[in-house]
Symmetry: C2
Subunit: 401 residues, 2 copies
Amino acid sequence: METVWVVGVGMTRFAKSDRSLRSLAVEATAAAVEDAEMQAGDIEAAFVGNGAAGLVTGQEMIKGQLMLRGAGIEGIPIFNIENACASASSALHLGWQAVASEMHDVVLCLGAEKLTHEDKTVGMRAISAAADVELLAERAAALGAEDAEDAAKRSYFMDVYAELTRAYMARSGATAEDFAAVAVKNQHNGGLNPRAQYGGDFTIEEILASRTIVEPLHLLMCSPISDGAAAVVLMSDAAKRRFGRPGARIRASVVVSGSRHDDSDPLAGSTGRAAAAAFEEAELEPTEIDFAELHDASAPAELMLYEQVGFASAGEGPALLASGKTALAGSMPVNASGGLLSKGHPIGATGLAQICELTWQLRGDAGARQVEGAKVGLAQNGGGWIEGDSAAMAVHILSSK
Amino acid sequence: METVWVVGVGMTRFAKSDRSLRSLAVEATAAAVEDAEMQAGDIEAAFVGNGAAGLVTGQEMIKGQLMLRGAGIEGIPIFNIENACASASSALHLGWQAVASEMHDVVLCLGAEKLTHEDKTVGMRAISAAADVELLAERAAALGAEDAEDAAKRSYFMDVYAELTRAYMARSGATAEDFAAVAVKNQHNGGLNPRAQYGGDFTIEEILASRTIVEPLHLLMCSPISDGAAAVVLMSDAAKRRFGRPGARIRASVVVSGSRHDDSDPLAGSTGRAAAAAFEEAELEPTEIDFAELHDASAPAELMLYEQVGFASAGEGPALLASGKTALAGSMPVNASGGLLSKGHPIGATGLAQICELTWQLRGDAGARQVEGAKVGLAQNGGGWIEGDSAAMAVHILSSK
């Protein structure tokens, strides 16, 4: 298989925005092309991730072609890829496959999402369409009117996370203070990232004082509604030499779907399977990872993910956090970018925003949030929910050479 | 590159149906798996095409994972692929790439669509979302109330086809009778296909007597609203030997996107470019094709496609039809299945339904509509519309060995 490099990266700031999906996508694409010091016309194929534009803007189809037309890209193969919140990393995987297999030398992977809408319930309903909408309708019908109205104000996924969190607390002894400490860490990091939606220095008490979304999750433990786009240019070894630019090497690219499994075993679910496959593909151990971007759509998720990816033993997520190892100044920083909690979570863009962060860190371009000695990074990005597991799960490992 | 074979094929009957999208998808998947004499558990990855479920059922995301769960398939990599009416052939292309590149040995490609809805305008609006919905909104706003109401009763694509047809008539001298003759041919073929939505023996006068949708298109010159699903199992050479089943060999798999071009040159648009690339990949000439499935979403399109694919010179589409060569008993039958006009057009399933037909024909399993001496077949499938060209265009060439 051909070695594949991430050569150009670009992303918009993530934010609640008045801008159109296309405008965001064009900005990220142009930034990635410029970062690679190439022309849009050098791109041979494009893989475009988006989750919810059909429900938010009505543009159910040919989203990528319309986005890329605005960036001056037409004629080439363009594929619209959807895997809910893992849409962008699924687009990356298929772009990687196109270069690794020597079918193309230079491809663009783009993820873009617009979730804000003048009707605030639209974004929440759109995110909930990453679960089985037939089951959601049954669930809503079974609730009383008041409870149903209450539930409609939040995404279904926060109900899922709340349930997972209660089970995790029982299993590991994790506390609300632990979850707040994740939010404190990631908001601190986001404050150092000019592209993050939020960020700043909070206390544990401030996080716990934010309003309850659904027990035990408080507002500042939940990723926000965001708009944004992220893009990367992938190149073969030969193309990278031709363009003469530095890059980050893709050591592993794995996407799996979820399955019914034993919840009490952190390694049995889709994250555990995808991470194990990625470590095997990269011929690396979890201890060899210098830093990671994990899918902290809720703060407790980061602790569970420590265990599922293999950074901590079962039940040891809170201890890993408490050790300071995953803080920005620690020996294996997690979510140096601010993560989904602080950087924001435009669902179809998130996976590639993680890859932008890995690339900046590996090139030493991450400014105030630079991870010292960043040589190998891991990104984990999940999407959707079916019967107790993510519908799609992606793990990528990149290295500086 | 590894040789890739279509080994198992399956499709539902296309029809206006009371059944759910999932039920249709499960039937097609199970039929393809059974046809390959394998188990669902042998599938290593799946590529699922759908166009409009977000707008029709609200299931905007993780469509493929939910469809395949019903067929007992979970855990493996699953990708949701959208390219409007070319969604299924785009899924096929990416599945082909996964096997051709030796990343997988056995993959499933599935296309499924449900367009019927108790509100009849939903299907029309969904199909129109394969164009730029911002432009459609501007266009509707510019129309008077009565014209806007009238336009909303048909898909935007019939307006596009009507405009293309008027230009084609001026350029080629094609007449309404020529278009009716395409419908007569394809309805005849569909009458021999147990999976076709319609079909039967019509006269040219009967086609012309059906109501006008938009000049010069009559109802029986337009593909209908349909529900349905089609699936194929792709295998590497090694896997095909292991399972010991006959198959159809993929000689070329090409997907391109549209671009601004000179309309008067039939070879300049996306179909011409995709077909030329496919003939080059297959190392074949148009004269070596024994039969073809072309994207006759409207009857006049088939004549234009004769020229764009390279079966006829510019302006010679009507003459090729009149020669009888493309009739079922001719030397190069086109749309032996009935085509989109008669078989039906569940948009995200159409491209793989064409591949099912090619495979049945190449195996000699096409029953009353069997093409004599079918050794090499071509399928052409387009999707979406941007600035005078299809948003996505796929051409596949398959051979019996």
